[in-house]
Symmetry: C2
Subunit: 418 residues, 2 copies
């Protein structure tokens, strides 16, 4: 596929994340006292959907869905409505359409808000490189890949209340820390604060009972970039036997733009060859991953950005459709607005890892920064930014940036019992 052109000039470029081919969905706050609104990114502009629907330019055939500051109501309507909206947007914003600049708001003038009300949040562990690398650090090379890993898309439930939109500062957490040579834990600020580069899949339709992989794929509304901030020292002491808990509950950042499944269709690609046959319920009827280039940038306070990793979503062993299918096999009901983290996306090479824990081999080999200095783990003032884009012929379908800055831990006087 090639670049589709729009009357919004800034969208007609190989250098924008948001050409007409993309049309990602977000919620913006124009800061003028009005409620935040649903909008579609096009070039460096946003189409105001609340206004467009109110004036009858967008019609989904029923009650309004853009009179609320989240996309859950549109998701509720189901895939036919999703397709209808995309068709209407393509017609409204295409190069042949009547220009309607009065419906545009410059992205530079607004603050972005959470695009959805997150129902529940589940985080998976679907990169084999990541699972192996972390397994070596936590359990040694002999037991690195758990015996179930090649059979189960391993996941655990996270905390929906901790999901925040890009641009939200993240405060270094306190927690129980215990070094291997210490007899008892201490209560102190995390010393090994880390990021995890992930893609998040947004569940747009509910389920009641088990769904197939094909059905699961059709339930997915779109994808966001996701940074699952992780306190490695807290995690190491707490995670046995019931999994990560407070180590993962400080915050999970997502990009403000949801790139729809429809926009990503041209970039579908298959999961890698199976090293052990999957049970039939997990087998994919077609390609279910996407070829999406991903980058991590680290910017120290007042400094310049260093790209510390470049990887690709297509390196994952399990797709979001397989994860969602597995999520339902016990009868677990899924809901509109559920968010599924892919798990950290690590490629096979040292420059394509998705977490500092892996890049630095547990903090032993610090990463050098362009402007001088290095990092074993995150320092206060660091801003982490994830970027992602699928690349077509002369255009790209991008996610914008997903960033967050690390604030210092609260002072002990502000912490009960510290």
């Amino acid at each position: 596929m090639t670049l589709m052109t729009s009357w919004v000039e800034s969208a007609n470029s190989a250098d924008t994340d948001f050409p007409l081919n993309n049309l990602p969905y977000g919620v913006f706050d124009a800061g003028n006292g009005t409620m935040p609104r649903c909008g579609v990114a096009i070039g460096d502009q946003i189409l105001d959907l609340c206004k467009a629907e109110g004036d009858g330019l967008i019609d989904l055939g029923g009650a309004p869905v853009f009179d609320v500051p989240y996309w859950n109501d549109l998701m509720d309507l189901g895939p036919e409505a999703w397709d209808s909206l995309r068709s209407q947007l393509l017609a409204l914003l295409g190069a042949d359409a009547t220009p309607r600049p009065e419906y545009l708001v410059p992205q530079a003038d607004v603050a972005m808000r959470m695009p959805i009300q997150v129902a529940e949040y589940t985080d998976f562990y679907a990169s084999k490189n990541h699972a192996f690398n972390v397994g070596v650090l936590f359990r040694g090379a002999e037991n690195a890949l758990p015996p179930n890993w090649l059979s189960i898309p391993i996941g655990y439930n996270g905390r929906a209340s901790s999901v925040v939109v890009s641009g939200t500062d993240v405060r270094r957490p306190w927690g129980q820390l215990k070094a291997p040579d210490e007899a008892l834990p201490r209560f102190a600020p995390c010393q090994r604060f880390d990021l995890e580069l992930e893609l998040g899949a947004i569940v747009g339709q509910p389920s009641d009972g088990m769904v197939s992989v094909a059905e699961a794929d059709r339930m997915i509304f779109g994808y966001v970039l996701l940074n699952d901030w992780s306190a490695r020292d807290i995690q190491a002491w707490e995670y046995q036997p019931l999994g990560p808990f407070q180590a993962k509950a400080t915050a999970t950042s997502i990009s403000p733009w949801i790139v729809t499944r429809a926009a990503l269709e041209p970039f579908r690609t298959a999961t890698p060859e199976r090293e052990r046959p999957l049970l039939p319920y997990l087998q994919e009827p077609g390609p279910m991953l996407y070829d999406i280039d991903l980058t991590i940038g680290l910017t120290p306070e007042g400094g310049e950005e260093t790209v510390i990793s470049r990887t690709n979503y297509a390196t994952m062993y399990y797709s979001a459709a397989q994860q969602l299918c597995h999520h339902t096999i016990s009868g677990c009901p899924m809901r509109v607005g559920d968010l599924l983290g892919s798990g950290t996306i690590s490629g096979p090479t040292p420059d394509s890892l998705g977490a500092l824990l892996e890049m630095t081999r547990g903090g032993q080999e610090p990463v050098s920064l362009t402007g001088g200095g290095s990092r074993s783990f995150l320092e206060d003032g660091d801003t982490l930014t994830l970027y992602g884009a699928a690349r077509g012929d002369g255009y790209r379908v991008g996610f914008g940036a997903c960033s967050g800055k690390v604030l210092p831990a609260l002072d002990a006087t502000q912490i009960p019992g510290a």
Copy 2:
């Protein structure tokens, strides 16, 4: 404290769960086409709060809170409103008040619904007897109690969408099963389906940042009985390294009645002596457990009920207030309607265990049933019922029953990929 009397005669008895001392909160459906409504149990009746508020008998000083079929709006108002409501109900239902039978609905005539909208669900692991017993079965006696257990109120996030009210049937799940002597997993119905006797704490106030144990205690609105249905064979194969997932996602049943913290005040009791000093942030400023007798009944299809366990909530090592405090130490925001499972409540003796896994030592020593037969794990058609009550002088503060019946697994023809 002694029995407080009411003009509702059935409440003035040592044999009711619902004397005036109790006043637990639920949502009932009279089945007459009206929306389910909030109500208070009194004897064998329910006071219709939607009607009482509509007629001005209950006034919380602002917009109505009982025009919705859940208690979240009342919780939102905070502890002063909770106290005010209890005071108004004591006055309205006390023996000296004007009898108003037109506001009562017989419990026998209604179906009970979910009392709250569950925001998120967290399950803990706070009974030392249970943690040790299960640890022996999953990891052997040497590694039974994890090293962190005496320092951390261990918990994991569960799935709020799977929480159901007592009386809801529970279908035996399918899942990945692998016996230790099998090379690869199979996809099949669970063969080791189990219950877990727990108490659920309902978070009635939000937090933003860490809260102390004392603050956490004040955030708790009330308690319910909770059965965390568990697929032990699925759990054994899936739970490493990130904790239980689909094994716990089929259903979690709660009692329809929320017994308030206020009603339980006379029954406060301290957690047991610490075997290892707790970090200061987890130390309790006063007694934070409750003396609540708990019973599990198992009734085979068409058969009679056998009491398979009698235990007490006061045997727990960590209180709900400690668990809630720990839940916030990383900055994790808590929300109105969060549900915290205590963890399986097992006493120190063989007749006081909270799960079949423990009672039968992993299925090796079946439990005998009164009417003949025995159980290693649950069979199709079994109804599990939890009962709970704090016992005062000539009265009790009870939870009613929390029950659920096990339905057979779906046929393979109804399961994708089976």
